[in-house]
Amino acid sequence: MVNSVTNLGRSGVFDWLIQRVTAYVLALYTIFLLGFMLTSDVNYETWSALFGQTWFRIFSLLALVSLGAHAWVGLWTVTTDYIKSMGPRFLVQAACGLTMFVYVVWGIQILWGL
């Protein structure tokens, strides 16, 4: 078994599970949002009403957190495959992690309008 200190789940199987669970959440969210935009008349009233509902804010935040975890597992895999030397790889992974953190916090600010 290969152990790495930088992967999210600390084991390949757990990473795999995180990747699948978040994939289902993200697929549902994407299909729901695309479906909403295609089937209803999107204007400021309908749009802000959708994002004003608590359940949809929670769903959006769940999707955003899922995106962070999903992207971490995915980008970790990609960076460990293509960036062989430790220093640059760590820097790129750190940059990805920072970006995901910013996305999540920025998303909370947008959703709850702090």
């Binding site: 699948r20 994939a23 994407t30 295609l38 994002f51 980008l75 970006t99 996305y103």
Partner: protein
Amino acid sequence: MCRFRICTLILTYQLTAAGFRSCGTKRECESAVNSKRPVNLDLGKFHFPLPAITSILHRVSGIIIFVGVAFLLYGLQLSLSGEDGFGRVSELLDSFLAKLIIWGILSALLYHLVAGIKHLFMDMGIGEDLESGRLAAKITIVVSVILIVLAGVWVW
């Protein structure tokens, strides 16, 4: 997990492309391995099999989405900031460049979604053999091309 699968596919292909054949006796094998005959490894003739191409596109589209989320969050923030902000987003989406960016992000998203659903089917044991894997890769390409074209029509 998927990494190993791709490697197997590429390896299988390269061995056939390089013309590895079974050679009869042990002696014949040894002479074939030790001979100084030129090895024809014409790199121009190597091709990635379709499942490898769909796999690398899955990775590329994932990275595009990761960057694209910044644009989407910016748009979301502006659109929810008020009537004016929403109007500003609609205005922005009238420009060719913004349409191109949105179409690009949508394309990456739709491809990643379709290829991701293929992965979920593979988790259930569907499309894991060589033949069904190639078919699944073809279906992934066809379905996502149709969706990407429809997305283009929707954006413009």
